[in-house]
């Protein structure tokens, strides 16, 4: 006789078995009733887009993702549960926080997973400025730690120059 299945999230016996075909792959999840309910799986109206996001990937991978779903965004505190409820995200950083779950869904939702449209110049400039600045700052720190003071002075000057150029640009 088959062994009764255990819930994938806790050790209760599983009574809810969900099979879903996503990207031509079969995914199975076994849950006990209370876990199923807390995940919204028993809710007939609960099959929102966000539901699909929580269960993609291989079976084992799927499980870690179900567990991941309890995580929240470190920047804004938004939870996966909230996302499931509303289908919306909390802040721009949620795209990274829930990135692994989102990326496969985005491709299914859209006509690709890369942005090909307009690029806002200012946002990009700001980003490259920040990237450059943080590289220089870590270089500076490293140089100081290694007591390479000549190098450190050079990095310091470059940082000052970068900031000055940025400021001049802003006031222009």
């Amino acid at each position: 006789m088959a062994k009764p299945l255990k819930c994938d999230l806790c050790d209760e016996s599983a009574t809810v078995h969900l099979t879903q075909i996503l990207n031509n792959q079969i995914h199975k999840i076994d849950l006990c009733e209370s876990c199923a309910e807390s995940k919204g799986i028993t809710d007939p109206n609960g099959y929102s887009l966000a539901d699909l996001l929580v269960k993609p990937g291989e079976e084992s991978e799927g499980m870690t993702e179900v567990l991941d779903s309890f995580e929240e965004c470190p920047e804004c505190g938004y939870t996966q549960k909230e996302f499931k409820k509303t289908g919306r995200l909390g802040c721009e950083h949620c795209y990274e926080t829930f990135g692994p779950l989102l990326s496969s869904a985005l491709a299914g939702m859209h006509r690709g997973d890369k942005h090909k449209g307009k690029v806002p110049e200012r946002a990009v400039e700001r980003k490259s400025f920040e990237d450059r600045l943080s590289t220089l700052e870590s270089d500076l720190e490293e140089a100081i730690q290694k007591e390479h003071y000549e190098e450190a002075a050079r990095y310091r000057d470059q940082i000052l120059e970068l900031k000055k150029a940025k400021k001049a640009e802003e006031t222009a």
Partner: protein, 377 residues
Amino acid sequence: MLIESIFDGKSEMTEGSAKKCPVVLMTRIRLARNLSETPFPGWAKLPQRTQVLETCLPAVASLNQMKRGITAEVEELSDLEKQILVERHLISRELSGAPEKAGVVISKDQSVSVMINEEDHLRIQVIKSGYRFKQAWNSANVVDSTLEDELDYAFSSRIGFLTACPTNVGTGMRASAMMHLPALVISNQMEKVVRAVNQLGIAVRGLFGEGSDASGSIFQISNQTTLGESEEEIIKRLSSVLKTIIDQEMNAREKILEKDPNKLFDKIGRAYGILQNSHLLSSSECMNLASLVRFGVDLEMFSEETRNTVDRMFIECQPGHIQHLAGKSIDTNERDAFRSEYLRKQFENVERPVFTMDNSEKREDSSEADSSKGEKE
């Protein structure tokens, strides 16, 4: 006072007569944008929402395009004002029900509106009458770039503009066309069209967006995907679908005229009779009658001026507008009476329709020319 400036000013929706075309009533481009390092409006706390509004409202209001326009916080607006703005497609239902610290700026000609703290921090919208995606996109693009000089947008080089809902990420652009498709409705082909169009990643909705019905045979057709294609590519793809729908509608019109012209003439003639003589009219009946008269204009049964009257009625027969015209808040029955009285006046001097097959044949030629003209966009 706000209402007066909206009514007194000429609006793209009701007056853009120069660029009228038989099937496409208006085109719209909407861009979703968010500020960097601030939670999206639905998750932001009150102080953050307040800050977004205080940053964005003056930045938007000082745009050249917004000169002598209207700037308002949603909390300052009366329910009737909000309803009228929704009926004019200048704000969304979501914004009109926004909890607090939401705002809107509307250009003087009512073709540009920017909503603040809706689903995203900024929703930039440009409306153009007729079939003019290119102009609408150019104008939205300029507004967007100008705002970007002032505001820091949330943007990822990999997945584009970051939006509250992942369905908008990428370009953040929704391009839509309001299409008048009476012949496809009369010949029961709309369901087939909707199904085919949906498969191409294009959505079909009623006049007032999601969940609204399609009274007046008016449908909103828009792109569903925003990531993986440039704005121009999205518009191009949507346009080719619109072109096919226009062809289908024109074919359906020809077929109806060929097979059973009397049935159609009867519908249009009756619509004219009701608009001139009724004493109770609901808004949805009014939409359907106006739709038939507009169909009649396309068939050259009515003068071209009548098209303007009809297009205005599509907006002015809505409950909020009727209450404003009545000058007070009135219940549904009174509204229906007032609406019919208003329409009797509007159609009093519209000349009787001319029903001849000659006209319809002439129309077929001109409509073909019109539809191909419309596609060149």
